[in-house]
Symmetry: C2
Subunit: 226 residues, 2 copies
């Protein structure tokens, strides 16, 4: 009755952001069959004495060297034909990393790990394209009702970075004044006494997301919404 031979894995769709601007996802090249040489979402088998979250973090670190900033469960994929060899159910996670992590891991073992622009993806192994699409959908939706976008920016960032991130993800122009008015209205961004200038143009003030204040405001019933 409970003679079950299903194997359990975890996979992690990890997004990064560069102000080119583009949204990227972290992929690894498979060394073995099936799908040898194909790009795939990092992941692997869950060990018996390990929680799902621990498994994701471990696999990510083993396969890509990346330490994740934000991680949440995405969806569990359990179709019968996911893997040609055996029945595998995979709990997919969804992660975000800051640009510093981005640069480090992009520089590491480039033959096996790489960032890909989500608008220019290679063919992926297994049903990983479906998993990735699910993750992209979630990311696009979630930035409109939870302040997770900050997890893709440096800890201190110019306001234009935030604006560009939203423009890129939502795929439409955003009015700078209205956007700023709205975000600052929440009161969860601290404006710092620091400026940064990148190339031409007036130097920008730096901002910082105040997570503690956000939770406080959330308690008080304020809802983040773009």
């Amino acid at each position: 009755m409970s003679e079950q031979s299903i194997k359990l894995t975890v996979d992690a769709v990890v997004f990064g952001y560069e102000s080119i601007p583009k949204i990227s996802v972290l992929l690894v090249k498979r060394k073995y069959d099936p799908f040898q040489g194909s790009w795939a979402i990092p992941g692997g088998f869950v060990e018996d004495g390990e929680s799902l979250e621990d498994a994701v973090s471990r696999e990510l670190k083993e396969e890509t060297g990346v330490e994740i900033g934000y991680l949440e469960q995405l969806y569990t994929f359990g179709n019968l034909d996911r893997d040609p060899r055996e029945r595998i159910v995979s709990v997919a996670y969804f992660g975000l990393v800051r640009p510093d992590t981005y640069k480090i891991s992009a520089a590491s073992d480039a033959q096996e790990v790489s960032w890909f622009d989500i608008n220019n993806l290679p063919k992926l192994a297994f049903d990983h394209r479906e998993i990735l699409d699910t993750a992209i959908k979630r990311l696009r939706a979630k930035i409109t009702y939870e302040p997770i976008g900050f997890e893709l920016l440096d800890e201190r960032f110019p306001f234009s970075d935030l604006e560009n991130l939203y423009t890129t993800l939502l795929g439409r122009e955003i009015d700078r004044r209205n956007f700023r008015k709205k975000i600052m209205g929440f009161g969860m961004l601290d404006e710092l006494d620091q400026k940064v200038s990148k190339g031409a143009g007036r130097p920008a003030n730096l901002f910082q997301f105040n997570k503690q204040r956000y939770f406080q405001l959330k308690e008080e019933g304020i809802v983040f919404e773009i």
Copy 2:
């Protein structure tokens, strides 16, 4: 390496609605240890050749006799200590049934299956209370941005049923005129030429959710939001 001994189960949190009004959840009484005699969310092991959704439907039918109207994946619970005997990872689902289903299954084998008001729950087995709380949170959140509330009502219903459902789930009063204005504004409810009178008061017109029209409107970019 892949000598994994994790077992995979599915569980289903099924909600029903009665116009007492209250939101109920379908529970089963456990026959065997562990937690013998405790109430639990219906569910069980996934078979090797069966998709997760099939497993949920099968278990629900076997344990409760209920055929589900609406079903979506909720979350996967994989903590180490979920089950005292062995490592079990459970993919939890979230379902809604119409009142007709409600009455039928509430009448069936009452010693083992029963509906419970979500505000008056017994102690639950395993981590099922956590699963249930996750499901309730999801239900409350989801009715505000997707028209799933109709899955808890009869196919034809008076407007006041919908209003009461939202009042109950959101836990606050709703202005009848404004609510009706908003819902009807979406254009996804058909007003029928039928009236129904329950007890005293002016008879109510019946309405019907037009799912096809909803998908059409969604394509056109209209967003459901309460």
